[in-house]
Amino acid sequence: MAGELVLLDFWPSPFGMRSRIALAEKGIPYEYREEDLRNKSDLLLQMNPVHKKIPVLIHNGKPVCESVIQVQYIDEVWHDKAPLIPSDPYQRAVARFWVDFIDKKIYELGSKIWKTKGEEQANAKKEFIECLKLLEGELGDKTYFGGESLGYVDVALVPFYSWFYAYEKCGDFSIEAECPKMIAWVKRCMQKESVAKSLPDQEKVYEFILQLKKVFGIE
């Protein structure tokens, strides 16, 4: 069942982090390979010819692309350890809905926060906070979105925490001030080794963003 497992990834990618967390939660050994996105490897292009993007999970030579698909795949193959997807059918649908919401909103809005200025940035910040507040509502009084243990929604969302400092510096605002419950949840997640070891340092991500801004000529 374990076989050969390789993850083609890029250290600041929140999408790659999802798969790292899922594999760590289940204690599954794998080979991590860092991709240079300006010079993509032949293996990456061969394994993900459609999108040519990371992360790609290669299991016994067969590629699984798209982070949410990878997390579900990991959960289904290694189903006996630390289950991430709820067993109740309706809760499963709810979890999938929120992961879809996170995918549609968080990355794009976050990108607008560091890439734009003025009114566009202000609108992005406002909508970003609104989305986090909706997620806070879904979390409610639970320890994690998954209940007492990390679940699918937690794994999908927590990687973006590594970008929060960059968003805050670029957008000149405090996420904790607006969404304290979200940050409290993040801190609980970061106490887990699987999460703490999968997320890069926030300052390092911020430096990376500053470099990207230079490259793209964004002030």
Binding site: E66, I69, R92, R96, D100
Partner: protein, 236 residues
Amino acid sequence: MKWRTIFSSKTMGGDEEVKVFGMWASPYSRRVELALKLKGIPYEYIEEDLSNKSALLIKHNPVHQKIPVLVHNGKSIPESLVILEHIDETWRNNPILLSQDPYDRAMARFWAKFIDEKILSTTRKVSFTTGKEQEHAIEEVTEQLKLLENEVKGKAYFGGEGIGYVDIVANFLVFWFGNLQEALGINIFSQHKFPFIFEWIQKQLKIDMVDESRIPKDKHLTYIRTRLAAFKSASK
């Protein structure tokens, strides 16, 4: 808001209450109805006027306020791909839409996501842009359709032996896409360019439920043309 009750010839247990909030011209809404019909699940259909959304729709989908929404025994499930998986997991009769094999499931989910995030999204750009932007979108969607063509090459169905998850998600190619390109006066999608997808369409048409879920062509063309005209006048 119009109410319509649909019962198929194969009714399931009478204690399940299923409602679908949908819109007749939406491929996302149609795919949910198709899945329910294929599995013989009776449901109540509520047609939404998207220019005047009902309070019930907003109650059942407060986050996005969009159709389709499945309400199963009072519990709301929005997002068509989430709904399809829920239908398949809840009603385990044939056709089974997603394989039990994790790798096959991953591949099916990949292509469904590709259809929605790339093909249907680019198709929207083709519809609602003009000039160079539209030309570029047409090139883009042609390339995306080629990838899908490659995926169905040599297969009876995307799912392999019988109609499955990806076939249902790709259902928009059977009627909807052809109508759209006719209304737009373009020819991206032809048997000559996409022989394997067209072969797949012929197989789809042989399935009663697929053929019965045909969108009335004239009504659809009028609808698309009205929307395009509204877009053109709004963008002046």
